[in-house]
Symmetry: D2
């Protein structure tokens, strides 16, 4: 990973000349393009692009980027965002009692697989404190009940804002977020659901998979939207089970899926590889 690069994500109505327009803009300032990937959705008539370039030798100061790019963006009706590799995203992890996804994320973070800051972990239980503090991350317990939900979220918002959080990861956090929460963090909350969505959305998916007698179980990471388990899917994976597996076996096999599927989604998000539209995601190479 180049420590000094910029990544631009663009979506706009599809038409001729978009690649030229963007490539020429970057060439004007002597950009060395490291990666570029684009996608055209023929049905939605949409053009989506990710382009990453080296800032070494790039002659446009990044504080002037928005102003310089504005005319092109306006002309082509682009929605866009630019991210600098020098500014690490700030991530909050929410967890309840199951710690496998948390353990996995923290280890990936320690060894550099996840390029971010983790200023805090929030839980509704005490269980994970020792693990989080071993990783030298502040751990906040905010109990949640049906009576104090609004107050609990207010406290969560305060902590998230204080820490300047860009992304919230629900690492098997067993509480449903309010509509208010979801609206504050659009495409900024990633959840792991322990089934192959849309099968077995909602509660107790492993029990229901067992009852239905499926031969594969899955896990799904997705952006959280106002409709529970209905947000844009980022990644899915499955594993084989047999009639010999009981619910506990499904839970055990499923943990391995959940860890991998959640961590991929987080890494792609942190690497600015994800764009979401029409309740789907594009994963740029």
């Amino acid at each position: 990973m180049n420590p000094h690069s910029a990544t631009l994500l663009i979506s706009c109505p599809d038409k001729k000349g978009l690649v030229s327009a963007i490539a020429n803009f970057l060439m004007t300032y002597n950009a060395n393009i490291l990666h570029a990937d684009q996608h055209q959705d023929a049905e939605a008539k949409l053009f989506l692009m990710r382009v990453q370039w080296d800032l070494e030798g790039f002659t446009l100061p990044m504080e002037s980027f928005a102003a310089a790019f504005a005319p092109i963006a306006a002309k082509h009706d682009m929605t866009w965002q630019v991210s600098l590799s020098s500014r690490k995203p700030r991530v909050a992890i929410f967890v309840s009692k199951y710690e496998h996804c948390l353990v996995d994320l923290l280890h990936r973070w320690r060894i550099g697989e996840l390029d971010c800051e983790i200023p805090l972990v929030i839980s509704n239980h005490e269980d994970c404190r020792r693990l989080v503090e071993f990783n030298e991350i502040p751990f906040h317990v905010i109990p949640v009940s049906k009576d104090n939900k609004a107050a609990a979220e207010a406290e969560q918002f305060r902590l998230l804002e204080e820490a300047g959080v860009d992304l919230v990861i629900l690492a098997r956090y067993m509480q449903v977020l309010s509509q208010d929460f979801v609206k504050r963090y659009p495409n900024k909350v990633i959840n792991i659901h322990h089934s192959f969505l849309p099968a077995f959305d909602g509660a107790k998916p492993y029990h229901r998979a067992f009852a239905r007698g499926v031969k594969l179980i899955g896990a799904t990471s997705h952006y959280v939207t106002e409709d529970l388990d209905e947000g844009p899917i980022i990644e899915q994976e499955v594993t084989r089970i047999s009639h010999r597996d009981d619910v506990d076996d499904l839970v055990q096999k499923g943990r391995d899926l959940e860890k991998v599927v959640l961590s991929r989604a987080v890494r792609w998000h942190l690497d600015n590889r994800l764009l979401s539209y029409n309740n789907k995601t594009v994963i740029f190479d």
Copy 2:
């Protein structure tokens, strides 16, 4: 495969001594056991077993098997069936216009992967005639409309009975069978559904998978019961798709899943490896 073997499938309430009882019964007649596999469902308190033995040297004539085994079966409240490798199952394939599963099944049959007779193929369209007749199998066209359904099924029953059919394969047959049909052939009709059930049951699963933005698509083979797409699942498989795949790509990738998933189910059924209970299947090794 031994050309002269017998296979016994048993299910009964679980208790001590069942393996002994069965093994001793077979030992009494000097059986050489080729394969044995059993399963206990702890929750359902059920014992299920498949045992296959060589008929060479077996001292009980198979025409006397039922009488000899009856006391043990009665004592342990067993449901059982015995099959002889010398008697090939007789299979009818139902197909509409999509021929990929049919081509695949017929080729597997020709090279000996599917150990059965195929006395007939029934379709509601003419399209597959040339292919079926190339394989020297009688091809019957029985058009089906909402007005003639009962008459069409009557004609199907006549052909199936005349041919002594044991198993019906719906190889992308695009008609829903009546309750009457399903009742006549319990656990004897295998269907391929082009989704990862229970996701996208019913019509147009590839279109709906595309619309939902899933990252994997699947196929499911199952026994047909009175509830559409709700029967015991036999086999499932998935393959990865991306935002670059449109519905046609899903259809194309899905064909490869359908062929494999359907043929495995058929082979296991023909090899007497399947037992179904509580709307699930056991697949014996």
Copy 3:
């Protein structure tokens, strides 16, 4: 698939401005770009690109394309080729006795998955004649022994040239091609090897996989080069086996891999999605 499109494949030393240069060239003639994908190999300092555009509205006649593109190609030291969707590639299939890959390829071709002409099938045995002729393709038997190899290949060359063949598929053809053959058709002969290369290259891979006790078996499609089983890998796939599987089971499970892995390679080649360099392949999206 657009019936009137052109696809350009390019490889050249990597440097700034290549995407701009190509995009601007196409824009000059009002190209409507349908797909574009590029890859930079940082280690090899190589730039590789595939771009496909609609010929509807493209103002440069394709017979003038080479002349018009030559200055850009020369400036950037490009190796390139352009293909027109209106000109279907002409494919010869070589087969011996195992027909599963042939059956699979012919069916995919009949239903439009493989967009090519198949002017002939060549075999060293009579076995597949009826199948090939059912598909209305000329079938040529050229027996091969260690004594007549050169003469046999001379006859093969004559048939291939007469038919104007662009691609040769070795669909479990059990003869090793001479160096002369391989040199005549560089990156134009695709083979299927029934192992997960580089494991078990050479003879009897399923037997050796069984003897080694591996838990997964594989298949590999690759371009044929002068070193047997050492050419650029195009696609690989594996499937799980267990201690219960004997060599025949491996052969049976392997067939399903071989069919899928070979057909993907062929489709990508026909769609101009493959570029090979440094004995590797790039598979463009």
Copy 4:
């Protein structure tokens, strides 16, 4: 899992009546069989069996088991071992600097996926101390160089014997064990190799996989024998890579394989599900 069960593993020359003999022996003492699985290797003419039964109500005291079973074992020339669930296996983990497998194993152990004691971790480096001690396990650093190898192993043996270790896990331990070590712990050392064996045995498998241009990478867990990377394979898994992945990507993707593949092998070993013969493994259900 039943806390009071016994598991018997048997291998012997195949013949008639073995299942009866074993089942009747257990029935004599009123065993409640929880699981039974057997395998016949037709080529090797070998019978292998695992049977687990509840000790509740079993009328033979386990201290008398060996004496009571001896006549049957002798008659059928059986190799056998019996394990009690009440006696947890004692496991030593060897690690160097890469900690991902260690983190994974320790977490699985903490949440009960691995049913064992871990009395010590041995490393040739200090790096993992904090992690191991967080898990309240003694951590021993024994530096290894080409000059002190014998002395280092002597110290390892002392620690292993003192701790009464039954199984050694090489969790990316970057030293080759001596023949002496391997002979002391036959079928008791499990290693993870970061390739799909037999491909890329030996050093730097990810670099070599990258250089060869494979489309899938793998990991293999196996028992360590005197031939490096040649021991009986326990488990393998692969994941897809593309031309976009460089060696670092392979390393990162490979870590997820290594963790899963090693932990499955360890769990099966601890559950007495593994038997090894002819340099292969049987994995009992």
